[in-house]
Point group: C2
Chain length 191, copies 2
DNA sequence: CCTGTTTTGCATTAAGCGTTGCAAAACTAA
DNA sequence: TTAGTTTTGCAACGCTTAATGCAAAACAGG
């Protein structure tokens, strides 16, 4: 009935998400994405709309992936899952290309100063997801003060992810970058 | 003999430094600085040259200020000084305007992806300054493994500063931002 | 083949930023 | 006052990026 798209939409979206993750918001231009996906600027703009919409959809895809990891690791929810999460973040780094990109949401907080409402809302939602996960795991194992401790754990997680990206971005931090991967239980930003 | 400048050079430089610190590299345009200092774009460009030169001089001014703080706190150099440094970072926040800007050098690592040689060199130099400071303090008190422990302390300091800026930039981190100030022993970015 | 719809490529617009040219303004020293 | 030097304001240029208009190309279905 009409001319079909020459590319897979979710595939291109994933590439955009990974590029935002690795390169940051500013450095990820439609032109850069054209170079990575082979899809023309006009076509991407046609299907994804404005840049912020593409970015928002990238954040959503990122969160969905994180959620599926949570479902695996926190099954059942408990202290053991929390331990597995944090210990899973320290691993020898094999491939050079698997960089220490940290967390897309945390990076965004650092790099994007004035965040549009939908973006900020998504970040808060993501943070809540983690806090809820921790709280449930704590209460399931009968730990008290679950609320405060969940808050503490989110702070620990996000702070750690900050440090991971910092290490990956400084020459002096290179040695650390070789043993600490931003991996969340096997989930790496292979690009 | 000739028309004099209508502004104090170091005063404007300090304003630039604080603006880079608070708003980041990108958001600090000559236009923004004109709004803050009242000095015309052309005049600033005339005296400070290209933006990267102004930024480099800002980093130098920042480091000089940090060095004078070090000279005060680490006098004499020792474990007590290290304790004073870290405990000085946790203080109730009085003025709302004193934000959690973290550390200009650390922020730059996060925000500026491709850093020119002189900028990167300055950051490394700054890091070395802190490492040397810690090493001296440790050896002066007869602590062994001073080299590794100094490296550890720099990591702890920079990581903490990352978390401080992160907290200052998220709505969810606001409660933390109220008790953790980026103050390094009384040195605040009052702007 | 033909028709209708969508994609795609090219060019363009608009905005922001760093940077520079130029001439008028401002000031000091004689 | 005058001469000489520097600052300053205005405008413009070049560049990058986001976003859009438009017409040709590509395709599915009749």
């Amino acid at each position: 009935m009409a001319r079909p798209k020459s590319f897979d939409e979710t595939e291109v979206l994933q590439c955009a998400m990974l590029t935002f993750w690795r390169l940051g918001y500013d450095a990820t231009t439609y032109k850069v994405l054209e170079g990575r996906t082979g899809v023309g600027v006009r076509s991407m703009h046609n299907t994804f709309g404005e840049k912020d919409e593409l970015f928002l959809r990238s954040l959503e895809m990122y969160q969905a992936a994180a959620k599926s990891v949570i479902d695996q690791v926190f099954n059942p929810p408990g202290i053991a899952a929390i331990e597995a999460l944090f210990s899973g973040m320290v691993q020898p780094k094999e491939e050079e290309d698997v960089a220490n990109a940290g967390c897309l949401m945390v990076n965004t907080v650092f790099e994007v100063a004035d965040r549009p409402e939908p973006i900020e809302e998504r970040i808060q939602n993501y943070r809540s997801m983690w806090k809820d996960t921790f709280r449930l795991a704590l209460t399931n194992d009968g730990i008290d003060q679950a609320e405060e401790r969940a808050e503490f754990l989110v702070g620990a997680l996000w702070g750690t992810l900050s440090q991971i990206r910092l290490a990956g971005r400084t020459q002096a931090g290179a040695p650390m970058a070789k043993i600490v991967v931003q991996t969340v239980a096997g989930w790496k930003p292979s690009i």
